[in-house]
């Protein structure tokens, strides 16, 4: 069956408010809830809406009921806490706004350094209780995962194994992954919100502490305390609000019958393939229209697969493509000498917020509000958060008018 071309919501729903709680590796005194409130208040003020204007709520792990009570949002007619970030929240809100379940939705996601994520987080006694009341992550999935730990192909372990398989099958060395990490770091140098801004050389990269072979510390996203929030409403209403609307031209999630990580047959069966097929089928834009590209790189190999799946190159050619479009004197990727990639520094250097930071930056660029890193004339952004299995997602965003 060829992918459906239906897209009645095309350009009808917009992102019109942006807010965030600054990304940090050493923040104290914050909770997941306080981070979300920082971002939510900032996003509403940015859009010029108040509690009475918000009638939809959609978040990740912090319950919408918490946010609604904390911000005194009197009445909402739609709310949801879908699992995978950030695409599920955005897609749900687009559907809710377009279908009339609500008019103006507040969408949010936060990251929080759990005590196992870093030494400094582990020293914070209150973080040690932060898991209380949360389901054990693995059992909560309900996907068939029954065990965790060093003998299980799960999460980061499996991404490392797939990275190894990729390098092996297509004959690349680790320096190929290094280009993704260096690109992020170079771009982060121009982003005050990024937690790592010092330049990274290939020599530094190759000397990085090995964590899960072939992935080193530089190949894996940086745990941060952070939150991002978005105000989503009809394009019509957005045009009356404070900021230039960013139109959601096309959006898609993607998943296949992978089972659990090691059962994924091969990278042709990743959810990313579904996203790309459906995204292009329902879009009136083409890859050549894209001015800025945001492939998720929470693990560096994921970004190489996105280059392949969205159509810049064929399967296994992502590594060669990145090298071919590498600009040595800028130490970053410019596709065809023009299109920058992860202009904010991505999860590897801005900080790991599971793609929410990628989306936020794309909106900033399309508003023309990215300051010293603004890409001149950026009018179409391709944002592809998520990895291989349960959280592949893509967005084509464009400037209004």
């Amino acid at each position: 069956m060829s992918p459906s071309r239906r897209n009645p919501a095309r350009d009808q729903v917009a992102i019109v408010g942006l807010g965030r709680s600054p990304y940090g590796r050493d923040r104290v005194g914050c909770t997941p809830g306080s981070l979300v409130l920082d971002a939510a208040i900032a996003a509403a003020r940015d859009a010029g809406v108040g509690a009475a204007d918000i009638d939809g709520l959609c978040g990740s792990t912090v319950a919408t009921a918490y946010v609604q009570a904390a911000l005194g949002i009197g009445r909402v007619s739609w709310f949801a806490n879908p699992a995978s970030v950030i695409g599920n929240q955005i897609v749900a809100a687009v559907a809710a706004v377009h279908s009339g379940m609500c008019e103006t939705a507040l969408v949010y996601h936060n990251a929080y350094r759990m005590p196992f994520a870093s030494r400094s987080a582990g020293r914070d006694p209150m973080r040690r209780r932060a898991m209380l009341g949360l389901a054990e992550t693995r059992s909560a999935w309900g996907t068939g995962h029954a065990e965790s730990g060093a003998n299980s192909m799960f999460g980061a372990n499996a991404y490392a194994a797939w990275a190894g398989r990729y390098l092996h099958d297509y004959g690349y060395g680790r320096d190929t992954l290094g280009l993704v990490a260096i690109n992020s770091r170079t771009n982060a140098g121009r982003n005050d919100n990024a937690v790592y801004r010092d330049p990274l050389t290939m020599q530094d990269y190759l000397a990085g502490r090995m964590v899960r072979d072939p992935l080193s510390v530089y190949d894996m996203d940086i745990p941060v305390d952070a939150a991002d929030a978005f105000i989503i409403t009809t394009t019509e209403r957005a045009r009356d609000l404070a900021q230039p609307p960013v139109l959601i031209h096309a959006a898609s999630l993607g998943s296949t019958d992978y089972g659990i990580e090691e059962q994924l047959l091969d990278l042709n069966h990743a959810g990313q393939v579904v996203v790309a097929e459906r995204l292009w089928a329902k879009s009136e834009l083409e890859l050549a229209d894209v001015d800025v590209f945001y492939p998720y790189e929470g693990f560096s190999n994921i970004a190489l697969s996105w280059f392949e799946n969205v159509g810049y190159c064929g399967r296994g050619e992502g590594g060669a493509f990145v090298r071919q479009h590498w600009v040595e004197d800028q130490q970053r990727i410019l596709i065809d000498g023009r299109i920058p990639v992860n202009t904010h520094g991505g999860s590897l250097s801005e900080g790991g917020t599971q793609g929410a930071g990628h989306l936020y930056e794309a909106c900033l660029q399309l508003r023309g509000a990215a300051g010293i890193r603004q890409v001149p004339g950026a009018s179409v952004a391709l944002v592809t958060p998520g990895g291989y299995y349960f959280n592949s997602q893509g967005f084509l965003l464009r400037r209004d008018g």
Partner: protein, 143 residues
């Protein structure tokens, strides 16, 4: 064996009605995988329907336990509670069983220098008893 006894044998593992046969098999040092009575295809982890033909008629069936490494990483970091040597490097593999393409189990490779392990190597299942965790599937080299 009662459900309570089975759960007690696997602390920390999400044993349920769908996968109980797999874990009961491990207690007998056998690897038992769901096989469809109607189309003969295998699936893992165990679920209550055949993903190929939707049959609900499934029989947990012992596999030969031989296969090929299709995914490989070496872990250099982890919890001390795991009892693995992260200094040398702890190998973690997915093995495609000979019974069916895509039918895979994950585990470590026992007694192997991680630096010498390669994708495509032949291995066999070892059911290993771990202190306080119950038996689990790992692998050893065939040659």
């Amino acid at each position: 064996m009662t459900h309570d006894e089975l759960l007690d044998a696997f602390p920390g593992v999400r044993v349920d009605q769908d996968n109980a046969a797999y874990y009961r098999g491990l207690l007998e040092e056998r690897v038992v995988v769901n096989r469809c009575d109607d189309c003969a295809s295998w699936h893992h982890p165990a679920r209550s329907a055949c993903p190929r033909c939707w049959s609900r008629s499934l029989t947990p069936t012992a596999v030969a336990g031989t296969g090929t490494i299709v995914l490989l990483t070496v872990l250099h970091q982890g919890s001390r509670k795991e009892g693995a040597d992260f200094n040398v490097g702890h190998p973690l593999v997915a093995v495609e069983l000979d019974e069916q393409p895509g039918l895979r189990l994950g585990g470590t490779v026992l007694g192997a220098d991680p630096a010498t392990l390669q994708l495509g190597e032949r291995v066999r299942v070892v059911v290993r008893r771990l202190e306080g965790r119950g038996p689990r599937v790992d692998f050893e080299r065939m040659s």
